[in-house]
């Protein structure tokens, strides 16, 4: 091995090969970007309300308890399909009402139960958050999660 694979050959393989894989990866990323915009998330328009909802989601760092499409902390339930679980995926008004009621009831204070904090969220933001969660739910995630439990 020492005869055929010299240090300089190993170095060239490293730089050349890495460059090759970077090029392939960038090409696949460009394709995936277009796929997301045109296909997998195209089922519902990316409205200002959805964008506002995403800001609300981020401002309160929901990801550090919940998972969204399986990513995040594993302390609280998956919310990528919460609108399906609540049966309000296609019902904007129902989605807002159930989400608003749920969040206003937190924290429950039940002993021995994980506590969701209380968040100050006005009506416009709450409607945005509900729209954002419906928007996420309608994304084509290759049939993940396996069932409504999330």
């Amino acid at each position: 091995m020492s005869e055929i694979l010299t240090k300089s050959r190993a170095r060239n393989i490293f730089y050349g090969g890495s460059l090759f894989f970077i090029v392939v990866f960038v090409a696949m990323t460009i394709h995936s970007h277009r796929y997301v915009v045109e296909k997998s998330t195209a089922g519902m328009p990316l409205t200002d309300a959805v964008k506002l909802g995403k800001e609300v989601w981020e401002r309160h760092s929901c990801i550090n308890c919940h998972t969204l499409h399986g990513e995040g902390a594993y302390f609280a339930p998956e919310v990528g399909n919460v609108m399906t679980r609540w049966g309000v995926l296609d019902d904007p008004e129902g989605a807002f009402e159930i989400l608003d009621a749920w969040m206003k009831a937190q924290p429950s204070g039940t002993p021995g139960r994980r506590q969701m904090p209380h968040f100050e969220i006005n009506e416009e933001e709450m409607r945005g958050l509900a729209d954002f969660l419906r928007w996420a739910d309608q994304t084509d995630t290759q049939n993940w999660p396996p069932n409504d439990a999330g």
């Binding site: 694979l5 240090k7 190993a10 170095r11 490293f14 090969g17 890495s18 894989f21 970077i22 392939v24 990866f25 696949m28 990323t29 394709h31 995936s32 970007h33 796929y35 997301v36 915009v37 997998s40 998330t41 990316l46 964008k51 995403k54 981020e58 401002r59 309160h60 760092s61 990801i63 550090n64 308890c65 499409h69 399986g70 990513e71 995040g72 902390a73 594993y74 302390f75 339930p77 998956e78 924290p107 002993p111 021995g112 139960r113 994980r114 506590q115 904090p117 928007w135 996420a136 994304t139 084509d140 995630t141 290759q142 993940w144 999660p145 396996p146 069932n147 409504d148 439990a149 999330g150």
Partner: protein
């Protein structure tokens, strides 16, 4: 210490160890909340504690890498660091940014992309610090002797800094957001950080075993080649279920399976070098940490990663405690233990007190490693049960969590061992010990009864 400017590393390592303490204490608190969920629930909710736990980890590992670079580059390049002042300025910016981030988390000001929650000004601070670092270290390397170790180290550090650009790109389309987010998270820990890890490990092997540089550097290039060849397209294993095309299931499964290779190679490399090496280096603790790091990285990143990386498996395990098990052991083995190996090697030199009693340090290795291993096992069991109940049977999340309590109690115990080990490690680094342990002698009686 051959070069005066290596002393910069000392300050980096001290700050890194301080954040390490904060990180593990935050982790312990988060682990306690799993056991007693009402703890601090209104004062300091779980999400804030988790942000501190993960952010402190990332920053102290980076500080360790920076410090390691400032320590080893002068020796490799055979010259002083370009500017010691810039190196301290960089550290000050990072410390101010870190304290600022923690303070703003505590008052509820933060972003909401996991691990990238830092306020915008902190993100810019990190960018400025990274640029200062790259300029400083690149000018040092370019002016001096070029080695494979500095080549790979610089390639890794340049690429990881470039990827930081994606911290500023946050598309309002959630699926795009997630895709570009992985450009940092995955391409750091399963790409560029591996380059940094491999080059630091190569440096440690060079110093500790006395093996010929040619041999070590050839190994180094082979290892980092396998790391990037597998790791770049291996990003696909995060693209299965977030709204990206189906082909990632095959690309991700195949290439992320290959990600085991660089970790296996690093473990083999470390052991073969030690077996073949003739040098009997007095710093046995550094050797223990180096071999331990390579071994635990292979199990944590390699084996536990493979465990749930195939898309057919991941469909059920994605986002369960299985992921938490893997994440903890992988980070500990690959990056925590490697940093601690470097600290253990460099600190006696930086403090001018080697060789010395390292029993406490070695005890801390076994406490931490044993604790992390046990934590990984119990979380894996918890994740397996969770996967079955929630993903196969379809039970509701909170009902499943109630069934996992016993594992969370055991995880807290394991975490307590890790915290003890971490504090013992820091103590052993900072508080002077007796220089050399003398062979035991029964005839010696302590003077006036003092132990």
């Amino acid at each position: 210490m051959k070069y005066k400017s290596q002393k910069v590393a000392y300050a980096y390592f001290i700050v890194a160890m301080g954040l390490f303490a904060i990180q593990v204490l935050g982790g312990l608190l988060a682990g306690w909340i799993y056991v007693a969920p009402n703890t601090l629930s209104e004062l300091l909710p779980f999400n804030i504690i988790r942000m501190i736990h993960t952010n402190a980890l990332i920053v102290w590992l980076l500080l360790g890498f920076f410090g390691a670079a400032y320590y080893l580059v002068p020796e490799e390049s055979e010259r002083e660091i370009y500017s010691v002042k810039l190196a301290y300025l960089q550290l000050i910016i990072l410390v101010v940014g870190t304290l600022g981030a923690v303070a703003s988390y505590l008052v509820g000001i933060h972003g909401g992309r996991e691990f990238l929650e830092q306020p915008l000004w902190v993100k810019f601070g990190i960018l400025v610090a990274a640029v200062i670092f790259l300029v400083n270290i690149s000018l040092t390397v370019l002016a001096g002797r070029r080695t494979a170790i500095t080549n790979v180290l610089l390639t890794g550090l340049w690429l990881l800094s470039l990827l930081w650009i994606f911290a500023f790109i946050n598309p309002s389309n959630l699926s795009l957001d997630k895709m570009y987010w992985w450009f940092i998270v995955h391409l750091w820990v399963e790409g560029t950080w591996e380059l940094v890890m491999a080059s630091i490990l190569a440096f440690l092997m060079l110093k500790l075993t006395g093996i010929d540089r040619e041999v070590i550097e050839k190994w180094l290039y082979v290892i980092v080649a396998t790391a990037l060849f597998s790791g770049i397209l291996g990003t696909g294993h995060h693209f299965y279920w977030i709204g990206l095309p189906e082909y990632w299931q095959w690309v991700g499964s195949i290439f992320s399976t290959l990600e085991v290779i660089p970790f296996f190679a690093m473990m083999s490399f470390a052991f073969i070098m030690v077996w073949k090496g003739r040098r009997n280096h007095p710093n046995k603790a550094a050797l223990l940490w180096s071999l331990g790091s390579a071994t635990v990285a292979f199990f944590g990143a390699g084996v536990w990663g493979f465990l749930h990386t195939l898309h057919g498996v991941n469909y059920y395990t994605h986002g369960t405690q299985v992921t938490a098990a893997h994440g903890h052991l992988a980070f500990y083995g690959a990056y925590v233990a490697l940093n601690l190996a470097m600290f253990t090697y460099a600190m006696p030199v930086l403090r001018g007190r080697s060789p010395y009693n390292q029993v406490l340090n070695m005890c801390s290795f076994w406490l931490m490693t044993g604790g992390m291993a046990f934590m990984t096992f119990v979380l894996t069991f918890a994740g397996t049960i969770q996967t079955h109940m929630q993903r196969v049977v379809g039970d509701y999340f909170m009902d499943v969590q109630d069934q996992l309590e016993i594992f969370y109690i055991m995880r807290f115990g394991a975490g307590a061992a890790v915290v003890l080990g971490a504090l013992l490690f820091i103590y052993s680094q900072l508080v002077p010990q007796r220089e050399i342990v003398e062979p035991g002698n029964d005839a010696v009686v302590p003077e006036s009864g003092q132990a």
